[in-house]
Structures are given as C-alpha cells and as structure tokens.
Assembly symmetry: C3
Homo-oligomer: 422 residues x 3
Amino acid sequence: RAQFLMDMIDTTTEMGKGMISMYMKYDALRFSGYIQPQFQMAQSRGAQSYAGGNFPAASDNRFTLRRGRIRVDYERYNKQDMPVVQFAFQFDGTERGVNIRDFYGRFFETKFNLFSLVGGMFARPFGYEVNLSSADRETPERGRMSQILMRTERDLGAMVSFEPRRKDHPLRFLKIDVGAFNGQGLTATTDFDSHKDFIGRIAIKPRKIKGTKSQLSGGVSVLYGGMQQFTKQIRTMGTTDGKPAFMIDSSVSNVGKIAPRHYYGADVQWKISNGEGKGFTQFRAEYLRGRQTATALTTETPGVIPVEADGRLQPLYIRNFDGAYLYYIQNLGSIKHQAVLKYDWYDPNTKAKGKDIGAPGAGLTPADIRYNTVGIGYLYYANEHLKFMVYYDWVTNESTDLDGYKDDLKDNVLTCRMQYRF
Amino acid sequence: RAQFLMDMIDTTTEMGKGMISMYMKYDALRFSGYIQPQFQMAQSRGAQSYAGGNFPAASDNRFTLRRGRIRVDYERYNKQDMPVVQFAFQFDGTERGVNIRDFYGRFFETKFNLFSLVGGMFARPFGYEVNLSSADRETPERGRMSQILMRTERDLGAMVSFEPRRKDHPLRFLKIDVGAFNGQGLTATTDFDSHKDFIGRIAIKPRKIKGTKSQLSGGVSVLYGGMQQFTKQIRTMGTTDGKPAFMIDSSVSNVGKIAPRHYYGADVQWKISNGEGKGFTQFRAEYLRGRQTATALTTETPGVIPVEADGRLQPLYIRNFDGAYLYYIQNLGSIKHQAVLKYDWYDPNTKAKGKDIGAPGAGLTPADIRYNTVGIGYLYYANEHLKFMVYYDWVTNESTDLDGYKDDLKDNVLTCRMQYRF
Amino acid sequence: RAQFLMDMIDTTTEMGKGMISMYMKYDALRFSGYIQPQFQMAQSRGAQSYAGGNFPAASDNRFTLRRGRIRVDYERYNKQDMPVVQFAFQFDGTERGVNIRDFYGRFFETKFNLFSLVGGMFARPFGYEVNLSSADRETPERGRMSQILMRTERDLGAMVSFEPRRKDHPLRFLKIDVGAFNGQGLTATTDFDSHKDFIGRIAIKPRKIKGTKSQLSGGVSVLYGGMQQFTKQIRTMGTTDGKPAFMIDSSVSNVGKIAPRHYYGADVQWKISNGEGKGFTQFRAEYLRGRQTATALTTETPGVIPVEADGRLQPLYIRNFDGAYLYYIQNLGSIKHQAVLKYDWYDPNTKAKGKDIGAPGAGLTPADIRYNTVGIGYLYYANEHLKFMVYYDWVTNESTDLDGYKDDLKDNVLTCRMQYRF
C-alpha cells in the first residue's frame, strides 16, 4: 500500500493521473441532503392542519417522513475566485412520492461581479421565511400564510440578482432580486394562462449594530402578479345591509381580464449574541398584506383553471388579506439546547370578521376565517448532523356563524421530529 | 502536472486546502446502487405471478427492469471509531416510476455503544428474508409469503436497537430490535387509522460451530399489530355442517375494535465452508404463522380503508395463516458458480383445504388457496459487480372446487437476469 | 493542517487508509447532469407543438424546465485498461414529475475485446438523432419524426454490440448493434403483447477524408417489429374512385396477427474544420421510411392496447411513412458562437396528399397530414458548462380539406433556453 500511495502522487503513473482527474471531477461537486422523520399527535381524528398536512379522517397520530431531500450542486470559479456558474438539482422523496424541488442554474457575469441570472425552478424571492430552508429553521413548518400563499415556495421562472461578490464592494450588504414566474409553482405541471407574476425583493444582509453584540437584517418584497379571468363570475367584498358580503359581478367584460395577485411584505431579523458558546437570542418578524384571487373554499392560488365537478368554471373570489409571524428564539445557555416561541396569524379576508362569516347571504365560507397559531418548541442539537425537535402548535380560529366553525376547532398538533442533514 | 501534485499536498496552497476539504466532504459519504434488468417467460399469457408481478393479460414474455436502486449513505464516527450518526437515502427507479425505498436516519448513543434509535422508512425488523437485500439474495424474489404479508418490506416508524458495537463486548453476537410502525408501509401515502404495529426481533449473529467449518445464525420475530375495524362486517373461520366456512359477524360493537395482524416467526441459517476458494454450502429456513386481517379476495394488509367500488365498506376477513421457506445453496466448486434450490409455501387460511374451497356457502375465495413453489436456479458471478441468474419457478396451487382453480394454474416462470451492483 | 496531509499520504495511519479507500470508491464513479430551463412563445394559444409539447389551451407563453437530468455512471477496467463492466442510472426531474431515462448495465467480454452485452432501459440503436443527447445537440428538440416514431428514444431490452476496443484493431471504425426490445419504451409501464421489436444498426465512426480537413460518418438502421392485432378491424391504404382512402378489413383472421412496425433509415454526418479556434461547418442528414401501425388519430406507437372511451378495441391503422432532416451548423468565426439551420419533414402517410385528406369517405384524419419544419437558431457557449440558445421553429402543415387544417396552423414557436451541464 505504501507503493500505492507513492504511485498516487506520481503524475507519470496512471494512478497519479487518476488522482488529478478525480480531484477535478469532485472538487466542483457538492452533495447535501436531509431527512426529517416525525411522529405527530393531533387533538382530534382528521384534524385539518398546516403542521405537515391534514390528518387522515380516521387517524389522530402518524409517523411521516416530512421531507427527504437530496441535492447535488455544481459550482465553478474563475481564477479571481469569482463564481462563474452554479447549478443545483434537488429531489424530495417521501412515502408520498418523489418530486423535484430546486432545479435551477445560475450564470454570473464576471466583468463587474455584481449581477447573476437564474433560470429554472427555485424559491420565489419573496420574504424571509419562504427562503429559509427547513434544515435551518427552528420550527417544523412555515406559517399558515406562507404555506397558503406560496405553496412549495418555488416557481418556474427567470431572475436577475444584484449582489456584489467582491469583498470590498461598498454595497456588499445589499441583495436585490427581480424575476418573472409562471405563478403556479409546483402545484401544477404547466402554466394555465399567459400571464406571468413579477416578484422583487430588496434585502439588507446581517449588519452588526455598533457598540452591541447584535446584528440586524431585513428586507421588503413585492409580488405583482395575477391570473386570467376565464369566468365572468367575479366576487369581491362589499356590504349588504351594512354587513360585509361578497358582491356578485357577472359582466361579460370580466372575461379575459387579469385578477390580482398582489402581495407586499416587510421582514426584519435581530440576532443577539449571548456570549461565547452560549448561543443567541433571536427575534424575527414579517408582515404581509395584499389582494389574493382564489375560489370560494380556498385562498390558495389555483394551479389549474378552477372548475366545478361538472366542468363549469368556478367563480373567482378576490380578497384582501394580511398576516404576519413573530419568532423568539433563545439558546438555553448552550448551543445544544434551544427554545422557540412563535406566533403567526393569517387573515384571508380582512373585510370580514367573526360572526359576519356565516351570516345568511354574505357568501362567506371557511376560507374567510382568520387563524392564529402559537407554537412552542424545544430543540436539541445532538451534533452537526442531527437535531431533535419537540413542538406544539396551538391553533385558534375565529368563532363564526358557520356550522362547524362556531367554536375553536380541535386541531392542535404535537410534533416529535428527528432532523438529519449532511 | 508534477507541480499540480506538489500543490496538492501543500496545505498552504488553495489546492492543498481543496484536497483536505474534498477528503472531508466525501469520506463520510458512500454511494451504492444496483440495476436488475431481466427477461421472463411465463407458462401462459396473463399469468398471475410473484416472480416480479403479474404478466399483462395478453403477454407471456417481457423485458423488465425489476429494480433500479441508487443509494446515498452518510456516516460519521467519533474519535473512538464508534458510529455517531448514519443516514440513508435510497431511490428505486424503473419503467414503472420512481419511488423511495430506504429513507431513514440512525442515531447512536456513545456512552455504552449499545443502543441506537432509527426513524423514517426502513425494513421491518422481522425475519431473515425480509431484511436480505435483493443484491445479495441468490433468488430473484422473496417468497410469496414475504411479499404478501410485508409488501415492499419497509414501513414508516421508529425503532430502538440493541447491538453491542465494542469488539470485546460479551453480547456482541446479539441484536435486538423493537419498533413501532404505521403498518401500511409503501402501499399507501399515509396511515389510515390511529393504531400502530409493534415489531420485535431477537437475532443471533453468525457463530462458528466448534470443531467444524460451519457457522450458524438465527432469530425469532414477532409482529403485533392490527387495523381498526370501520365496518361491522367481520368474517372469521368456523364450520358449517362440519365443513370449514367463514362465519358472518355483524355486531355493531365490531366497529372501532382492532382486527389482528399477529405474526410469529423463527429463522435459522447454516453456512458450511467447502474449502478455500470453493465457496459454501448453505441452508436457510424460516417459518411464520399467525393471524392476518384483510378482505375477501386478498390476504394482503390493506393500504387504505377497504371499500367496494360503490363506496360501501368491505367486510374484513380474519384468517389464520402459516408459511415457510427452505433454501439449499451450493457453490459448484468455485465461488463463480452457484446453484440454488428453494421450496416455499404460503397457506393464507390454515383452516380450509383443497376441495373445501369453493364449497357452496363457505364463502371461501381464491385468496384462501395454498401455494407451494419450488425454485431452481443457477448463478454466475462474472465479477464483483455483475452476476447472471437463470431461475425457474415451479408454482403449484391446491386443487379446489373454485372455477378456474380446480387444477394447477399455468403460472410457472423462467427468469433470466443480469444483476449489476456497485 | 500540514500534519493532516502528511497523515494523508502515510498508509499506516487511518487517514492514509481512508484516502486509498476514498480513491477506490470514487475513481470508478462518475456524476453528470444537465438542466434546461427555457421560456417559449407560440404563435397562438394552445398551439400543438413538438417544441417541448403542446401549449396549454389558454396560454401562448411559458417557462418550463425542459429537461433536468442527473446521472451516475459506474465503470470498471481490467489491468489491460479494457472495460469490464459499465452501468448507468439517469433520472429526469422536471415540474412534470420524476422519471428514469437511461437505466442499464453493459458487460464487456475481455477475450477479444470486441463484444458487449447491454440490458435494461437505453436508447434504441436506431439512427443518429435518436442517439444524440440533448446536451450535445445544437437544436432544442429532435425532429417531429423522431419524436413520434420513437418517443423518449429509449426502450427496455437487451443488445449485443460489436465495437473493437483495442486501438490497433483494423475494424475500429465500425460499430454494430443488434437488440430485442419490448417496443413501448417509456410510454407504458409494461409490454402489452408478447411480440418484441428487433433493432439493428451498422455505423461508421468519424473518418478523416484524405487530403481535406473534414471527416465523415454515417450509418444504416433497421427496426423490424410490430404489435399484436387484438382487434379484427385493420385499416390500410387503398383507393376509392381513384382517390387514396383507408380500406376496411374486418376479417376475423386478423386477430392475433402481428401488425408491422418496420423502419429503415440511413444517416450521414460531415464535419469540416474552419481552422484552429474557428470551429466547424457541419452537415447532417437522415432519411427514414417504412410502415407504422397506430390508430386513427395518431401515428405514435401505442403504449397500451388501444381502446375507445367505452372500452371497445380501436381499429388499427397501418400507414407507409417517410421523413428526414437536414442540419447545417456553422461556427461564427469562434467556438463560442454558432448558427444552426434545420429542415425536417414527416409524412405519416405517403399515400395521401393535401386535399385528399378530408375527402368524404376516405377516412383520413389529422394524423395523416405532412408537416415541414424549418428551424433557425443561434447558440452562445458561455463556458464549458453553459450555453444559451435562441431558436425559432417555423412549422408548416399541408393544406387539407379537413376542418381546422385547411390552412397553415399558427404553431410556430420561439424558444429561449439556458443549458447547464456538468
């Protein structure tokens, strides 16, 4: 074996050449992945949940593989150590099937080392939570609002990014993304209309606050998109007898117009060091509002042209929404132990509240109900490849006059998860 | 290029750093995979078969990709060379689609180096054949019993293992697994009830028999699970006019109870050396019995709540079963050549035999028929990455009084397979 | 870190052993992949297209991930540096799902180093375009003919190849493939009949033309297959009143016979150097003709036994077809810039032309229409991992007497693509 190694570093032998060739092959390649098996208990059988999806009708506990991701990255740098090209393939494999997640390429210009062009399937450049990987997140799931408005986070499109890559660039703290997208993301196999969504985000990267041990980051985002109205039946909020209600608009001229999908958001992150080896105190907040087009019974962006079971086009419902989340994350005297407290709300229809929902003739549905969620969790970081998470979601809905939604639903969920990553 | 290699071992250069970083990246990572293309001929068109699935109605020969597996393992060890964490991602890709197989993580405690905790999708810790990979197996398929009772072998759950990892531990020959599982494995996308299956296994690893050139191993296993009865229609075996028949029980109190899935098994493996370079003689046996809940026409555990085409709940059938297999594996004077002889049976309903099945009013169906299979095969190991296999399955069913099953079916199958692995 | 590297090349340390083991593990393994995101505009909404599939009914532009491939190859050589075994796993992941592409193994005999045996899912050994990877091709898609006759290019089967591997072999310019295949490729999950397709190809590898800076290659191919006739309804072309029309043959004896799938093709490639660093001028041509069996409304080989919506067997249509493509590829004074001009046609029914199609009683359908396509494209090779492609497909159909096909359809397509590969 000693001979073997002498061969290995001798470039005139096959082995030496093999070594160089292997180095060349694998240096630019990076493999990573994570697996998140979990056991969950819900407060009732068939609980509707955004903590990993609804429970089956007859079950209130389950093992699931929440995520199983394997990813291959390829990155090349030039002689100035500036990136030239990067691309990523990521698969998600669970008991529910195998699908792609990130599948994109990024091309970097190397004249200014400022701009890059991305094409493919990648996370929408909107907000903070949407772009934070579950492998890094301190909670099992994104908030209800993020899941409904931007299911699977990703979309097919192209994006230009401004992000200085030279270490001495005066705008190095800045990142600006602007892109065009199909709109439906991974919820359908193709775009159903010709209208594209435009998304932009300006972000300030973490900056130290002078005279403190803390750093601040944040951003503002806008999604300005929409979907073509194939139906003439458009519903928007107004008032009937002084009470909020959906107004029926059936003008023929509605057909062909673009129904709005307009989101505006701002987010901020504050991270305070607790001292060497003691971890951090972190606060995060994000607020979103805007106008969303969907259908009577959901506020999720349709993946296909929405039709009834009999094939007739469904009316489109345009609602004003808002929502937010707040995180408080605290290491418990050690980087191995961490507690997290999260509050989030999503109000899919800001013009209707409580008992208005369910009033006869208002046309309001369960999709108009506001939900508040308080989550409390404990994380144990066993090592760099494994963390354990115990998390309880305490979900509260508005009390309405709709049957089945007059009181708080029994939909709290306890999640026990192992998170492996490499 | 000589300079290149000098750079490579010089830690102050970028190349040297890259080399270390590459070593770190790839040392813990392991890729493996196998591909099993095959050509098969059946005795008749549309033959029902457990040798790779039923033949299409109008075909008696076919090329198939029986399995195409690619797997990524990640393993970390501590300074005492004891494992700390291991996780695995395995995909199966064939012309029938892409699915996951193993997707699990294992966490090892390093205080005693005795216990580990596994979570995710992994092979049920039951029996020997279920846990023997097709890449290592000498026959193309597991026995009919293993396939019906534990389709795809794997299930979602969590398991604690006792297996001493220190070389000098007095119980190093022992392995004990105890786990809880959803029950449906990869046959459905989620658990349909709240009841979990418990599985346990105690195994003795291969031990040399004193004064011989042979070694012995074995184990005992139990699966103690069940499924919720959503229907009140429960069928169990009894007798009508002294003849075995399914009894109809329609008590309302049946609803909500747990129908049994109880398996008990024992297995033994005996491996005798034929001398240096001449390979081995091997015998393997495994016997299972228990009570299984399924439906009228199959004894496979349902993946979803079983309903008729019109949506009504199907009655549940509870049957006592048993089954076994026997292997005789013989190297032919060389490790390159090997012959295998296998006998297995599966009796899905031990209380009904032959002509009883099909007797009017007994309610017995083709799912109650016992099958015996004799398999004979020849294997050629071309190199460590490729073996060729020719195998003939001679399948015999009981002669019953059911139309279509009065004689032995023409369902023998010849399999010609190439098995690649790395 | 210096110590680390000294350890690394010291075979007596764990690190040294690890290094050898890593080298062994990864030397035979090769990862590759490509991603092709694109934006397309069609001349009309819902355009029927072979430039990446039909447009959705209400859309004339779209982002798509045309292909996302990741591939693992494993190759072993013997001491004479001759290949012993090779196998490949390739997945395709896009927003439309995850599927396999190449999944095959190849076994090389090492006595003569002439023959090899392939088994699994791999490209049919027919023609030039079918076997040219999209990563290398200068156009976004294969021609209409290739796509219709050999959808997804690959099929399940086994093939023997003759290809001298010793550098000094007198027949080193020659490659001969002969194989048997299921027939349906990746369009179905299994073969629906017992009949197999035989495919053969003789190819001359690129050979320098004496006294020139150009090289020539080419080949001839034959596919001799078919499908079982389950229906007695067979349609072949004849004449009615002197006009071409499908003849109805309903003989009971048709059932069980084999309907033809016979293709005959020849291809040639001519590559002329433009001088150092200036790239090449290339011409490629391929012509196919034969007899194809399909159904009334398509000439694509069925993946399953073709039935009507109500379950009745569809009549089979047997047509004589021909088709061809011509490429002219020109580097623009640099290997970074390239222009391509392509003409292809596919005439699915050579016995019916123009206004004959749509004549009352002839039974001809849109599937009988000939299409000509002129494609013009510009490629920019940014680096070895990325090329940009802008390509316009100008598609012309015959003017027929069929409603909706009396004039040229508005189905031209502009494709803007980024192609990443590693």
